[in-house]
Amino acid sequence: MAQTGMNPRLRRQVLTLQVLTPVVLVILWELIARSGLLYEGVVPTILEVASAFWNEVSSPELYHHFGVTLMELFGGFTIATLIGVVTGIALGSRPFVSSVADPFLSSLATTPKIIFLPVVMLIFGIGPESKVALGALGGFFPIALSTMSGTLNVRPVLVDVGKALNLTRWQMLVKIYLPSLVGPIIRGMRLGLGVTIIAILLGEIKLSNAGLGFLAIEYYNTFHIASMYSILIIIFLTALSINAVMSYISQRFDRA
């Protein structure tokens, strides 16, 4: 976070708050866990969660599942990006076509991807392929939509500059369209990655034999609640770091 331009007192207060908040939350959790207000299996004590967490990170099992999820993520996101960008440019280069496609794309984009799991399974089976496909499906729409609107909104005057210099179609694409699209594509990828992550993990939760989502729900089904929490923590830490990397990239390359 940019904390520039804060006077030192404010900065100190902010920092105190940011440190204190998790501490308070943890204490609150512990109190709830010990109070017996909730069924004990549901809110394990911090110590239990911590030891479960340690067990997880020191077991090679976790890294296998982690690897599966990352592979699915990589596959799904790559496919989503490639197809999304090509589709986005194709649809966006004709305003009429894009206005036809827009309602379809945006309503599909806002449909929960997980309900497509049965369809994807019918086609790709129950292995990692179906998770990759679901992830690709999820990531596709934001990327395609963003690329499409980016293509539509490539500043006409820049296209005119190209026309005035009699650029070929290829030169037009490479020298004017693609550089203009870097921003929208990265923005779309950032949104798409979030959706891909969710789609893949939910897919794993619903049906799979490997992956972090599978692990979490397996612990849930076998009443290892503390372990479930630690997997959730791992999932969230991973998602947040991936998102942080994406933010960095988009700040770096998006000169809009």
Partner: protein, 299 residues
Amino acid sequence: AQEMDKVSVAIGQRGLWDTLVVHQGIEEGIFADENLSVEMTWTKGGAETLQAVTTRSVDMGFVNGMLGILGAYQRGAPVRIIGAEMTGANDLFWYAKSDSDLKSLADAQGATVGYSRPGASSHLVLLNLLAKAGVDAETVSAGGISDNRTQVMSGQLDAGWSVPPFNLDLVAAGDLRIIAKGSDLPELAEQTVRANISNTTFLTERRDVAKRFMRAYMKTVDWMYDNKDKAVERFAVFNNIDLEIAKEAAAFYPKEALLSVPVKGLDKTIQEAIEHDALREPLSQEQIDELLDYVYDPR
């Protein structure tokens, strides 16, 4: 050595006594004796296994609810029943908190009692149990075993369903009390509730493999009951549970319940399927003959 035949199977409900047959057989080398190398995938239940089989992602599927199979068959899925997986409802049981007033299902007048989902075996068995007890309880589609447990423990449900070994530890610890069992309904012992399936392609193209597989499967069932101590121990290890509990769990399952042939009580099942919208109309005898395709029948 000769190249082993690869078989991929999907099995629902990881870790139950009956769903561990294939695992036991693999560990005991019974499948290897038939020159089969088995690749196992656990699924979360019938629908997923069915998908895997009909789309040929796997060769065979185990532990499938009958209603799902019948429905899929009538809707044109290339699916065949190759044997029974579970006959009777011995595995199902219902429990309540020990400190509640529910001592048996007979006390359940007006209570909320959980089952997994409409049309599932837990639903059918519960309805039968309640009818037999003559009480009018509120049945709740409360989801899986863990969902039921959470809801019972937090007081949202009065009773929940389970199968062994799940929750037997809490019963042993005195937190829970079993209030009804599927075996309370002897008439159900003559009805197959779950079956093993395969797809038509596998059954025509590699029928010999299927045959050997089922032979090994049946041999494994025999072995499990002939060497019960060893089987129970493996069962306990697999689930990471006490040996005592594992023994108790295994006791729920008489050997007859696990026999592959024949599939029993199909007429009644078809009727139930129609009641629950799984079937649109009864199957004809020709259809039943086509659907039941025991690749290996030692009788």
